[in-house]
């Protein structure tokens, strides 16, 4: 079955709602409207307004209330309308959601999913193109995942709902309308990285929005006789160091690509781990291709600002030139 990522998410949420009566969705405009990206289209009609909840306009409220619902046995799936609007909820996420299992010595489970359409490249105005993953990945007690294909979207959202830990679920909005095959079942655990393309010369690490870009870069590199292995991380916290190390162990080189700012972006952690754990095997420094250390620019500038195919190819060149 070939569907868009939006449809795959919709199907996955529908399945989660069907399979478990304790699952509910909540967020701004997710009911009647079906969400600004239509991810929840039709679900309110079929599951009712008590399970697909149009909330007041307050993100702290959404996450705070989800915590209380989870304490009462529900499995809330929150939608934050855009990446740039998650910040009013950060206090509830960091000081409450992430910590309550720890504080209660495991007595409180908070199976809360926070879905966030994220990343740039869609010509939006400000606050609609942010990549906040580091804030969450740096916060112990949260899981952070992101899907790059409709198939992953379908399965990962269900896996996220089934998790007993809070999951920040990042949806690369730039690929919402990209279509792909969806398999009825999956055997890949939520936390496992996937090698999207095998290669031998350099390991290219991507996730979410940069995965298709990385694959495109790998294609072009192949034409030039360079064999690029593309790893899709999928899970950012925890992240699958084992798969990445194994790949880099073979290739001796790594490039990591993300849209978030350079300093303290996800690539920093990848580089820090690899330089430590593969010190003797790295033939070149881990190269980072990322957004710059500026606020996200006006959309007329975004295509150059974002790590695109050419900047990734340059990084591969740089890595291979060592």
């Amino acid at each position: 079955m070939t569907v868009s990522m939006v449809k795959a998410l919709n199907d996955g949420l529908r399945k989660a709602l069907t399979d478990d009566p304790q699952v509910l969705l909540m967020g701004e405009d997710i009911g009647r409207l079906g969400g600004v990206f239509r991810v929840t289209d039709g679900l309110r009609k079929d599951f009712g307004e008590l399970r697909v909840v149009d909330t007041p306009l307050g993100e702290a409220g959404i996450v705070g209330a989800a915590i209380g619902l989870a304490m009462r046995g529900y499995r809330p799936v929150c939608e934050i309308q855009f990446d740039g609007f998650v910040y009013p909820a950060v206090n509830q996420i960091i000081t409450q959601l992430a910590k309550l299992r720890h504080r209660s010595a495991g007595r409180i489970s908070l199976p809360v999913v926070i879905r966030i359409p994220y990343g740039g490249g869609i010509g939006s105005i400000e606050h609609h193109s942010e990549s906040p993953e580091t804030y969450f990945a740096h916060t112990a007690g949260l899981k952070v995942v992101t899907c790059a294909t409709p198939n992953d979207a379908f399965h990962m959202i269900q896996q996220a709902v089934a998790e007993d830990d809070p999951v920040v679920f990042l949806e690369p909005k730039r690929h919402y309308w990209t279509k792909g095959e969806v398999a009825p079942a999956t055997e890949v655990p939520l936390e496992q990285a996937v090698i999207r393309r095998a290669g031998t010369d350099v390991t290219l690490i991507a996730y979410g929005p940069t995965v298709p870009v990385a694959l495109e870069a790998a294609d072009i590199a192949a034409e030039e006789g360079r064999s690029v292995e593309v790893v899709d991380l999928r899970s950012l916290s925890p992240w699958d160091v084992t798969t990445v190390r194994a790949s880099v162990h073979r290739t001796g080189r790594a490039v990591v690509a993300h849209e978030a700012a350079f300093s303290h972006g996800f690539g920093a952690e990848v580089a820090a781990r690899l330089q430590d754990e593969e010190f003797h095997f790295l033939e070149a420094p881990v190269v980072r291709v990322t957004g710059y250390d500026t606020p996200y620019p006006p959309s007329r500038l975004e295509s150059d600002w974002l790590p695109g195919v050419d900047r990734i190819l340059n990084a591969i060149d740089r890595s291979l030139s060592y």
């Binding site: 701004e28 405009d29 009911g31 009647r32 409207l33 079906g34 600004v36 149009d54 909330t55 007041p56 306009l57 307050g58 702290a60 409220g61 740039g84 609007f85 910040y87 009013p88 010509g123 939006s124 105005i125 400000e126 606050h127 072009i220 030039e224 350079f262 300093s263 710059y292 250390d293 500026t294 606020p295 620019p297 006006p298 959309s299 007329r300 500038l301 975004e302 295509s303 150059d304 600002w305 695109g308 195919v309 050419d310 900047r311 190819l313 340059n314 060149d317």
Partner: protein, 379 residues
């Protein structure tokens, strides 16, 4: 229950209609709660500005349809609220808008073309907030209400409020939507303004919708009543009545300037178009509702009044139509003329002085941008 036990649901005000000074047929009335000296009001000018901002809005929508803008949040239906509020301002009063106050921006004297850049993607701002005492648009719901509070604290510390000097006393006008009433930050702004008796007027355009959420999702009582919870006055006016909006804002700003503290104004109005050009309102609201409200059009009633009273000549309308056409032309040309920002601009304005590391990033970026696609094949 009485006294210490308050049940506002039972209060009479719920059923009360908002205060009106100009009814949909164009008839003037007075209301003891909201005096307005008509001698101080230039009705033809009010109408002209409402008509022009409607045209500005219509033109921007057209530009969006033509692909010249990425998005446009229409103010249609809210012209009276915005123009009425703006007419109450002194030049030196500071305005903190949301993203929909094109009408206020117009009245503040901003070049209307400068409103388009944000939505065209050529800028994140577009104008000098100090030149017209009109802050940049704020997209994060509610955030600007706290900036208004801080600015008001500054005015108080400057001695620019309650001094009794009519050339000095200044106030702040903060706009917000009905949806914004639910953000914690908005409520903190109310709390600070109340506790410190700040010269801030909160102007809530209750246009009945926050994207697809009807007002009932946010509250079960009128928005103006929110102020009672903090201990400052709330007033509810017909937001499609430019005179009521002007009178309420003038009264509230006067009070604020003179040291009388904050007011919350609820202008009961309607978002006639979808939330933005990217939205599809048919998914969540009935066409009849929109038709009902369109019948209460804010321009029509003032036009009817002007025509019935003979306050203006035919020439006024001919002239106005010409002005509208000129404005449309100016917007079209201006929009297409908005230059793409320089590739270096984000780097230049992130800090007062560019840090060394960022300068290095800029160097690499400029090299990349000027070299173009390294591999020739594609971008």
């Amino acid at each position: 229950m009485a006294n210490a036990v308050q049940d506002p649901l039972s209060e009479a005000s719920l059923a009360d209609p908002p205060i009106q000074l100009l009814d949909p047929s164009g008839k003037l009335s007075t209301d003891a709660r909201l005096p307005l000296d008509l001698a101080t009001v230039d009705l033809p000018a009010l109408y002209r500005d409402m008509a022009l901002v409607r045209r500005l809005d219509t033109e921007a929508i057209a530009l969006q349809r033509q692909g010249e803008l990425g998005l446009w949040p229409s103010l249609r239906g809210q012209e009276a609220a915005q123009v009425g509020a703006a007419y109450a301002l002194y030049d030196r009063d500071m305005v903190f808008p949301t993203y929909r106050e094109h009408g206020v921006a117009w009245c503040r004297g901003l070049d209307p073309v400068s409103l388009l850049g944000l939505f065209r993607g050529t800028t994140l701002g577009g104008w000098d907030p100090y030149a017209h005492h009109f802050n940049l648009y704020t997209l994060v719901i509610g955030a600007q209400t706290l900036h208004a509070v801080g600015y008001g604290m500054g005015l108080y510390r400057d001695g620019s409020t309650g001094s009794g000097d009519p050339d000095r006393d200044t106030a702040v006008l903060a706009f917000l939507g009905d949806g914004a009433l639910s953000e914690g930050e908005t409520n903190e702004a109310f709390i600070w303004a109340a506790a410190q008796n700040l010269p801030v007027v909160f102007f809530c355009q209750n246009n009945q919708w926050a994207i697809s959420a009807p007002y009932s999702v946010q509250s079960r009582i009128p928005a103006a009543q929110r102020a009672a919870g903090y201990g400052f006055p709330g007033i509810r006016v017909d937001g499609n009545d430019v005179l009521a909006c002007l009178a309420a804002t003038r009264q509230a700003l006067d009070q604020a300037r003179s040291g009388g503290g904050p007011t919350l104004i609820e202008a009961v109005t309607y978002r006639v178009n979808a939330h933005t050009t990217a939205d599809d309102a048919t998914r969540y609201r009935a066409a009849e509702e929109t038709e009902d409200w369109t019948a209460r059009d804010p321009l029509e009633r003032l036009r009817a009044h002007l025509e019935t009273t003979g306050a203006v000549t035919d020439e006024y309308f001919t002239d106005l139509e010409q002005r509208e056409r000129d404005l449309a032309e100016r917007l079209r040309a201006g929009c297409r003329g908005l230059a793409d920002p320089d590739a270096s601009s984000p780097f230049e304005h992130t800090y007062a002085q560019m840090p060394a590391d960022l300068r290095q990033q800029l160097r690499e970026h400029l090299e990349f941008v000027s070299t173009g696609p390294q591999d020739g094949e594609q971008k």
